[in-house]
């Protein structure tokens, strides 16, 4: 047997650690290097943790994510000039999905923008891109009247996700969760710790993301675990986070999005407001692509079997290569391998795609995500 991936037993080799590093080890997590961070990929098993999030609740440490604060009279205008969605449409206490693009439409990163005050925003970005993103923002802030601060090491971030998430959180907070809409946020406290609670997530289940000062993260995680003793939450690692997001049809930077893949190709045109008042980086390229239709696009597929197609696997249409796999995993809910691919638009429309694996050909069924719809998700 060969090709096993390297795992780290000791934090070291320059890996960054979240405030829960000792907690993960104590809980028996298997740790891996993720974007330079020593992170739990699983505790008991990816499939089991995945099902726990779909059926009850899971708790994820996502403190590796980057957080930036942008504040000042010019903050909204600045963000509107570097992001594709319409920042002027977010009111205080609301969040919005966004893309930060290059002039050619390639994606620097995807992120969530939280409006925490009339002139204050919190940006939550991918850990793998945080350094690049901050430099990009600093490089474009120019004369905009706002301050820009990297708060990544000030905030820990926990994601409490699943149909039981609200039942677990409710008795621990004075925040009125009934009044917190999807993509809403509230500064409050949980188990006595200062927390920004937002009704957001990356699993396709109802749930919350909890931003808290770095040193609060471990006691907050312990309080959540104890509170949910009889009905979860189960600790869930990055492995389940990835299979949950793919089953829900959410993009992951480095797979469905990259500097070479535009949001239009990725099917995220709904978050690209080419008609908004402020001109923004990438606008012309994205408008042209929106009008003419992308030459290639991200599609999602089912395989009909349990063979996972890995990133980079070529896909065939009419006997020739028409694209490549971007993500692949086993869907625990469908008990079938699923994935995404970047393929020529003509092949996407014809829909006759197949993969070749060790000499055998497998037809793929193109599907519109999500692969699995939570019975509990509020719209």
């Amino acid at each position: 047997m060969a090709e096993r991936k390297q795992e780290s037993d000791i934090p070291g080799g320059g890996l960054k650690t979240t405030p829960l590093n000792a907690f993960h080890r104590e809980q028996g997590a298997r740790m891996v290097d993720f974007a330079g961070w020593d992170m739990p990929v699983q505790y008991t098993g990816i499939l089991e943790e995945h099902r726990a999030v779909r059926e009850s609740a899971g708790l994820f440490d996502v403190s590796h994510m980057g957080e930036f604060t942008v504040a000042g009279p010019g903050a909204a205008g600045f963000l509107d000039s570097v992001l594709t969605n319409d920042i002027s449409k977010i009111s205080e206490g609301r969040a919005q999905y966004n893309l930060m693009c290059r002039p050619d439409g390639g994606v620097v990163d995807d992120l969530i923008v939280y409006r925490t005050g009339p002139e204050a925003f919190l940006l939550c970005v991918n850990a793998s891109n945080a350094t690049k993103d901050f430099a990009w923002l600093e490089g474009h802030v120019g004369d905009h009247d706002c301050s820009l601060r990297d708060d990544s090491s000030r905030y820990g971030l926990l994601a409490l996700q699943g149909p039981a998430a609200e039942t677990i959180l409710k008795p621990l907070t004075r925040a009125v969760l009934d009044h917190l809409p999807s993509f809403g946020l509230e500064e409050s406290s949980v188990a006595g710790w200062d927390v920004i609670i937002s009704r957001t997530g990356y699993t396709g289940e109802p749930g919350f993301e909890l931003f808290t000062p770095w040193n609060n993260t471990e006691p907050l995680a312990r309080a959540l675990c104890e509170a949910g003793a009889d009905h979860g939450p189960r600790l869930a690692g990055l492995g389940a986070r990835d299979s949950l997001r793919l089953e829900a049809g959410f993009p992951l930077y480095g797979h469905e999005l990259s500097e070479e893949i535009t949001p239009i190709q990725a099917g995220l045109g709904w978050a690209v407001k080419v008609k908004k008042k402020t001109d923004f980086i990438g606008r012309d390229a994205l408008r042209r692509e929106k009008e003419s239709g992308p030459a290639r696009r991200v599609v999602f597929f089912r395989t009909g079997n349990r063979r996972i197609l890995r990133q980079g696997t070529p896909l065939l249409a009419a006997g020739r290569e028409a694209g490549q796999v971007l993500s692949g995993t086993l869907s625990p809910m469908l008990n079938e391998a699923i994935g995404s691919a970047l393929i020529e638009s003509a092949a996407a429309e014809a829909g006759e795609l197949s993969a070749e694996l060790r000499g055998k050909s497998f037809p793929l069924q193109l599907v519109k995500p999500p692969f699995y719809t939570s019975a509990h998700q509020k719209t």
Partner: protein, 126 residues
């Protein structure tokens, strides 16, 4: 791990249990299944196929990765564990028991002498 004292291991993490004079059962080690995580698919040869020591005879896939399986001994495949087709998780549950993969007729039982015993294998993985 005392129940595995009759196993011999390849450095590539396959085990062999000799049965009778010239037959043996093959699987992957508990260490290997644990490293792979949730196993989602196992591809095995057909009955009658020939294994040559050191050559790839199949694939084990987990959520994380696909890995080649290497023949720890040479021989002819007498049986394959067909239950793994629908229940590959048996390899996670009992790698050296119900999660067995192949039964073979050994070409040369002396090849077993080249493999590691339980304690040498465990030591190699420290």
């Amino acid at each position: 791990m005392s129940e595995n004292q009759d196993l011999k291991y390849a450095k590539t993490h396959e085990w062999v249990r000799r049965e009778g004079e010239n037959e043996a059962v093959i699987g992957i080690s508990d260490y290997a299944q644990n490293s792979l995580g949730d196993i989602t698919f196992v591809e095995l040869p057909a009955v009658g196929d020939r294994l040559s020591k050191g050559d790839s005879f199949g694939v084990v896939e987990s959520v994380k990765a696909a890995s080649d399986l290497y023949a720890p001994v040479s021989g002819e495949v007498l049986a394959v564990n067909e239950e793994l087709e629908d229940a590959p998780e048996k390899v996670n549950e009992a790698a050296t028991g119900d999660g067995w993969m192949l039964k073979v007729r050994l070409d040369d039982a002396a090849e077993l002498n080249d493999l590691l015993d339980e304690s040498a294998y465990q030591a190699a993985n420290q």
